[in-house]
Symmetry: C2
């Protein structure tokens, strides 16, 4: 099983796949292809999220920061619960593969 | 913060660094450079472990399987609690970078 192969077709919508998890953790692969959060919309999650970009490129913005973070393969963020954030941009030319761990 | 850069020198011993976590989850980067589990020794963990190889190469063996799994970048395993396993080999020429999520 490989996170970088057999990617689903994300041309119509971002695709999240659950890989593993337990009572208080959920591990997902997310594949994006040009998607971004709708204008003005923010994630505001009850859980913490550790996220790493495995392939592609993205820009993620926190509501409490002026500039988006530019994310390339290997870049990771640990997002505290209820820290508002949005995906400003993902590469429209190649799939962006995220590994996300939601936890409490 | 990037998982593939600023790697610690693992030439003397495998190095684990805690990246994030909570009450029931621990997320670590582990860097290996030729290390393997001592002969005859097995990991037997109370927690489940989701592990992905981000760089390098390794062979991981389960006690209940004949052949080791060969792991390359992107390959992942979800190891159930108390499923005995060992690292048979990691590449001695280049660092192997693991992302490990221990969870309950």
């Amino acid at each position: 099983m490989n996170l970088l192969r057999d990617l689903p077709d994300a041309s119509m919508a971002e695709i999240a796949q659950r890989l593993a998890g337990g009572a208080s953790v959920r591990i997902e692969r997310v594949v994006s292809l040009g998607q971004a959060s709708p204008p003005g919309s923010w994630y505001d999650q009850d859980e913490a999220e550790f996220v790493v970009v495995l392939a592609g490129a993205a820009r993620l913005r926190f509501a409490d920061e002026e500039e988006p973070r530019r994310l390339a393969p290997g870049d990771y963020l640990d997002i505290a619960p209820h820290r508002r954030h949005r995906v400003d941009w993902t590469d429209p030319a190649i799939p962006t593969v995220w590994l996300a761990v939601f936890y409490r």
